[in-house]
């Protein structure tokens, strides 16, 4: 079995961050905040967050914030829950949550909760359980979960449960590993995991592992490295991760690396990108691959960052 080419991935991430004129950078311009979260969290998991100038990043993030308190994907972009979460997560990585006006961010998020407990992504009204996760995770990090109607939020998520024990984007929608992560994560954060049939869902999730050892997101679909995160973190949150073959999954993820130029792709021999690099490394972290920091499956941040948020600075 190959090895994790950690140094190469660090180089790759730093190069993407610097090359703002590359095609990848240019088409990702509107979601650079997500990209920052993927890249910086990966660096932290590899123990290399200090290779980045945190002041520069923090100052840029604040410029992405709007009057309303929400954050856009980059300077000059409209606010949205997706980028608001990434902003808060990146600030947490740098232990700079104190630069925020917490009330403003909280007001932005709570205004997006609907009557039925669901969340819209922004003022344009798109509803999706992804946004329930963004809102709940973000407010939990800011310790302002009490500002929304948690009971209704949970009820809405539970209404999105499917016939096979998973969750979709809205009530009635098909089970999908990405949506499942969002729903299980939100339920975990709000202490509501008892609503899940863990055995049934655990089985659906472990059935995502295909012959190659990789994981797919739905029955009869192709394996993709990003599911190494979504399926795996969900299994961990419901205490069923031992139901997949970890060794085979590790091998699959390692095979998706570009060991020469750095970066990880969706499946072996495809082009790499920051998104899959993060999910591959985070997946390996969940699998306790040596040399990586531990990752919190619900908050999708390094465990020491989460501990710092909730328990203050640790002496070690």
């Amino acid at each position: 079995m190959g090895e994790l080419a950690g140094d190469k991935h660090v180089k790759y991430i730093l190069s993407v961050e610097k090359k703002k004129d590359s095609f990848e950078s240019v088409v990702m311009e509107h979601l650079r905040l997500n990209g920052a979260y993927w890249g910086l969290t990966t660096l932290d998991l590899l123990g290399k967050l200090d290779t980045v100038d945190s002041d520069e990043v923090v100052s840029w993030i604040l410029q992405c914030q709007h009057e309303s308190g929400g954050f856009g994907g980059n300077i000059g972009h409209d606010p949205h829950l997706l980028y608001t979460l990434s902003a808060v997560q990146v600030l947490a990585l740098f232990d700079k949550l104190d630069v925020l006006d917490i009330n403003k961010v909280t007001d932005y998020i709570r205004a997006l909760q609907n009557e039925d407990g669901s969340f819209s992504g922004d003022i344009w009204g798109e509803v999706d359980t992804r946004f329930s996760y963004c809102a709940i995770c973000c407010l939990a990090i800011l310790k302002r979960l009490d500002s929304i109607n948690v009971e209704k939020a949970v009820r809405y998520i539970v209404s999105c449960k499917t016939l096979d024990g998973g969750f979709g984007c809205t009530p009635g929608a098909e089970s999908h590993a990405g949506q499942i992560f969002c729903c299980v994560g939100a339920l975990a954060i709000t202490g509501s995991l008892h609503h899940i049939d863990k055995d049934l869902l655990g089985w659906w999730l472990c059935e995502r592992q295909v012959k190659s050892g990789g994981l797919n997101g739905r029955p009869e679909k192709l394996a993709d490295v990003c599911y190494s995160w979504w399926v795996l973190s969900s299994l961990i949150m419901i205490d069923r991760v031992h139901w997949i073959d970890k060794e085979k999954l590790i091998k699959f993820i390692l095979d998706c690396q570009d060991t020469e130029n750095g970066g990880i792709s969706d499946r072996p021999d495809d082009a790499v990108d920051i998104f899959h690099t993060y999910f591959g490394v985070a997946g390996l972290s969940l699998l306790e691959y040596p040399g990586l920091k531990a990752t919190d499956p619900a908050y999708a941040l390094p465990v020491d960052v989460v501990n710092r948020i909730f328990f203050g600075r640790c002496s070690t």
Partner: protein, 342 residues
């Protein structure tokens, strides 16, 4: 978690790019370059059309100009980067300000969908338009998603849109038939099975799950016999009896279907797993089922005695057949009810 993929707009009949600076309709607009923060953007002309389009977009967006040329510009910007959600927002503001013909807007989105069927912004925009057009839009929306499914019958966005259309705008009448058609084309299409469940539980013209259960059990079992390795109809069958364990235990068609698959000695994983579920709920198998299970065991350790021995046999066969999930099957055997008096 936003999709990181966006298409370039190469090829497909792109005419030679006429710089916006030389187009009379954009006279007077001062292009604004992207501000990425402290590190200045290196001014390399990567792709002139992309860069210029976005610079002009930023200008009109920041001056909040809600005009026909802004509408045109959002079309251009969307064609070079359809995932740029701020462009779509601005487009909606322009459409509202102009009181634009939204039927034309449907055509615009269809053009975008041709190259970007998995784009979140496209689908949300389409929904916004359809919502404004109201129930009259229903059949066109169903037709639109149908076209998408011809290219990719599992497109998650399209299914989500179609479900919304049915619930918000109507059009349920032919939906069960449509599911049947898709499943005829590909009986492994889990999205179509999910839609079928959606229809039988929510359609106002069908009477609900209880009314539909009987015929749907037959439908699922037919699919199981055709392809016993197909995960979907097994899950569907179980879903038909959600919260109805007694009824599930007592429906002889279910364990007969399992037996049928076991006897063929191929692709019996889900048949065994279903039997395991039944055994766990107190199902008493007949001799035929016991024999069928016994004949699948590799080691001959005598007859299957009590039901719990039988269930353990099932678990060990499954662990052998599906080694990737060996831990799961071992755990299942640890969860079996203790042996009742034989």
């Amino acid at each position: 978690m936003a999709s990181s993929s966006s298409s370039s707009s190469e090829g497909e009949g792109r005419r030679a790019w006429v710089p916006l600076a030389s187009r009379p309709e954009f006279a007077g607009v001062t292009p604004l370059p992207q501000d990425d923060g402290p590190s200045p953007v290196v001014a390399i002309a990567y792709r002139d059309d992309f860069r210029e389009t976005m610079d002009y977009f930023r200008s009109l967006y920041s001056s909040r100009e809600l005009s026909p040329r802004s509408l045109l510009l959002t079309s251009l910007a969307i064609s070079v980067n359809p995932a740029n959600y701020t462009v779509w927002h601005f487009r909606r503001q322009v459409l509202e300000a102009l009181g634009a013909d939204l039927t034309e807007e449907l055509e615009f989105t269809e053009g975008v969908a041709k190259r970007n069927a998995k784009n979140y912004q496209l689908w949300h925009h389409r929904r916004w338009v359809a919502e404004k057009l109201g129930p009259d839009a229903a059949s066109r929306e169903l037709e639109f998603t149908r076209k998408i499914f011809c290219l990719d019958a599992k497109n998650y966005h399209a299914w989500s849109h179609r479900q919304w259309v049915l619930q918000a705008l109507g059009g349920w009448e032919d939906e069960l038939d449509y599911c049947a058609q898709l499943l005829k084309e590909d009986v492994f299409n889990h999205s179509a099975w999910n839609q079928r469940y959606f229809v039988i539980t929510k359609s106002p013209s069908l009477g609900g799950l209880n009314a539909m259960r009987d015929s749907e059990v037959d439908y699922a079992i037919e699919a199981i016999h055709a392809n016993p390795e197909n995960e979907s109809p097994w899950r569907y069958l179980r879903g038909l009896y959600n919260d109805e364990n007694e009824a599930w235990l007592n429906d002889s068609r279910v364990h007969s279907a399992c037996l049928h698959v076991l006897k063929a000695k191929r692709n019996f994983k889900f048949a065994l797993s279903t039997l395991l579920d039944l055994l766990g709920l107190g199902f008493k198998p007949n001799q035929e089922i016991k024999d069928a299970i016994t004949s699948l065991r590799t080691s001959d350790s005598g007859e299957a005695g009590s039901d719990s021995d039988l269930a353990n046999s099932v678990c060990s066969i499954l662990g052998r057949e599906d080694p990737m999930r060996a831990n799961y099957w071992t755990w299942r055997s640890s969860k079996l009810p203790q042996a009742a008096e034989v």
